[in-house]
């Protein structure tokens, strides 16, 4: 459950940057000033419950709708003035599979190749490669209407990849998928960054998904970003974490317990729980105390609160749909 901790490349220009994006429909404010900076080659997750404004953000950044205010650059191009340039650099996989049901999987891919002006032979090669990569080769000649949800989602993503986009928007890529298809999709997404070096902007309402995939996570609530950082940074924002020490026997446990005033001692499990924010200085302090006292611990684990706790604390309301989705 640890997020990849790729350090953002600060020197490269950001793949996506936005300043003060706003959007309202009538009286309803959907986005209330969103600022984003997403480095190239990273996975960014926009996390939020239904109706937070995730899809609207994707629609604005992918040129589908215009923002009411603010400005944004995608792939170094201005969203409003150079929309066609933005479109040439991005790929979008929306919340609802955007596939042509009446065509076969292969025809769908070739359609995309033609529309992106990929030469015919190269288009066929890419289509065949994508079908193989997403394990759709056997179903290639079948009409998409017969596909399962997971297959459609894979085809949808394959169609997005035909044009070799540098920036990929994934709007809730695993919503509605069964656990196995979900894991497959996660692997595919991770592979994209590793193999092709693309930048991924994904939205999700699943806390574990953001935790699993994203280098950086922004929490969106009612049109505002309420927090941003790595999964670990977000978890450290709120109290409730602790360091758990495991001892070989009761003597060691008691020896250690004398040096940690606030710790909770569990003689059955032979463990000691020390409240902590999980940061390195506190961790070092704990180890120093153990060293000075010449007490030997069998193992040490750091427990940080999971994103579910983070979400609840930051927004003041839970995510009723997804609390059961958390692995822990």
């Amino acid at each position: 459950m640890t997020a990849p901790t790729t350090a953002p490349i600060l020197t490269a220009p950001p793949a996506i940057s936005a300043l003060g994006l706003r959007k309202s429909y009538g009286d309803k404010v959907v986005l209330d000033g969103i600022d984003l900076t997403i480095p190239e080659g990273s996975i960014f997750a926009l996390l939020g419950p239904n109706g937070a404004g995730k899809t609207t953000t994707v629609q604005i950044l992918s040129t589908l709708i215009a923002a009411d205010g603010g400005q944004a650059q995608v792939a170094g191009r201005d969203l409003t003035r150079e929309a066609d340039g933005v479109r040439a650099a991005i790929g979008v996989t929306g919340q609802f599979a955007a596939v042509d049901n009446l065509l076969t999987a292969e025809e769908n891919l070739l359609l995309m190749a033609d529309l992106q002006h990929v030469p015919r032979a190269e288009g066929r090669r890419r289509a065949a490669e994508l079908l193989r990569r997403f394990e759709l080769t056997e179903a290639a000649r079948k009409p998409v209407v017969t596909f399962s949800g997971g297959m459609r989602r894979k085809l949808d993503l394959a169609m997005t990849l035909v044009g070799d986009p540098r920036i990929i928007f994934l709007d809730e890529p695993t919503t509605g998928l069964d656990p196995r298809s979900r894991r497959t999709m996660w692997e595919i997404i991770r592979d994209l960054v590793v193999a092709d070096g693309v930048t991924i902007f994904l939205t999700t309402q699943y806390l574990d998904e953001a935790d699993q995939l994203a280098d950086r996570i922004a929490v969106l609530d009612r049109g505002r970003l309420v927090a941003e950082g790595t999964a670990d940074e977000l978890k450290r924002l709120i109290p409730g974490g602790h360091i758990r020490l495991q001892f070989a026997d009761l003597t060691e446990l008691d020896a250690a317990a004398r040096h940690f005033g606030a710790a909770a001692r569990d003689p059955e499990e032979l463990t000691l729980r020390i409240p902590s924010d999980g940061s390195i200085p506190t961790l070092r302090a704990v180890l120093d105390v153990l060293d000075d006292a010449a007490v030997r611990a069998e193992s040490l684990t750091v427990h940080t609160p999971d994103l579910d706790d983070v979400f609840l604390t930051l927004t003041g309301h839970g995510t009723p749909d997804t609390t059961t989705e958390m692995a822990r």
């Binding site: 992918s62 040439a88 991005i90 929306g94 955007a98 995309m112 992106q116």
Partner: protein
């Protein structure tokens, strides 16, 4: 490639997609042919005796009724094609695929142009089939090769006008059902013109409407080309209507497509 060349190649890609749909799911295309063929049979065999007797000595010059009604029904085939365009465009709009097209760096009109050209081609095929049936049951046009060409040109122009209008209807319709119902008045207009009976047999108010609505000059021109009846200035009026409606339909559709999608 220039942007115009891209626009053409994108439109051709979209056209291939629509023809593939039609080929794979021919039910919609078949309904375009079946309706006019049924009417042809109905008006020739069931009503033909009475209607033909009623208008003998009129524009047909005493010929058989099939020669009067066939051009009208051939023209109505174009209106049937319009309904299928509206439904096709609307179905596409309610699915995610259109949003995918919108995020591609392709000509904005390509999606609609592909639909419209696909429909016009299907409509022309349907018209050819209806003409074939008409000939088989006794329709005897006296048109020369040039007149046939002019007739096909007129029908193509009319199909183009109706199809662009229907594309617009398909874009603004919320469901495929309403997209299929909205063009209904369009399919009825030829009845209120000179398709089935001459307009001078109608009561005054209706006759006024019949003479000034776009289908009457188109029908009169087609009948003139195929049967040699007088065309007068109907030809110019028909072409003007078609060009005007094509432009209205085109710009309306483009602006409707530019607005936010339904999702």
């Amino acid at each position: 490639m220039s942007s115009l060349a891209y626009a053409v190649s994108d439109s051709m890609t979209m056209l291939r997609r629509n023809l593939k749909h039609a080929q794979r799911y021919p039910a919609m295309s078949l309904s375009v042919v079946i309706m006019p063929v049924m009417m042809l049979l109905l008006f020739n065999y069931a009503f033909g005796g009475a209607l033909g007797a009623g208008i003998s000595g009129g524009p047909t010059g005493g010929g058989s009724y099939i020669d009067y009604v066939a051009p009208g029904i051939i023209l109505m085939t174009a209106t049937a094609g319009a309904v299928s365009t509206a439904v096709g465009v609307c179905v596409d709009m309610t699915e995610g695929i259109v949003n995918r097209f919108r995020t591609l760096s392709i000509s904005r009109a390509a999606f609609l142009t592909g639909h419209v050209l696909g429909s016009v081609i299907q409509t022309l095929i349907a018209i050819a089939l209806v003409i074939g049936v008409a000939l088989a049951i006794g329709f005897r046009p006296d048109a020369s090769a040039v007149e046939w060409l002019a007739a096909i040109g007129l029908l193509t122009l009319l199909a183009l006008a109706l199809t662009w209008l229907s594309a617009g209807i398909g874009l603004v319709s919320r469901t495929p059902e309403s997209a299929s119902n909205t063009p209904m008045p369009l399919t009825f207009l030829p009845f209120l013109g000179s398709a089935i009976v001459p307009t001078d047999s109608m009561p005054a108010g209706l006759r006024w409407f019949a003479e000034y609505q776009p289908f009457t000059p188109a029908i009169e021109t087609l009948r003139g080309l195929l049967m040699g009846t007088g065309i007068g200035n109907s030809g110019y009026i028909a072409v003007a209507w078609c060009v005007g409606l094509t432009l209205v339909g085109y710009f309306w559709s483009r602006s409707a497509f530019g607005r936010t999608s339904k999702r």
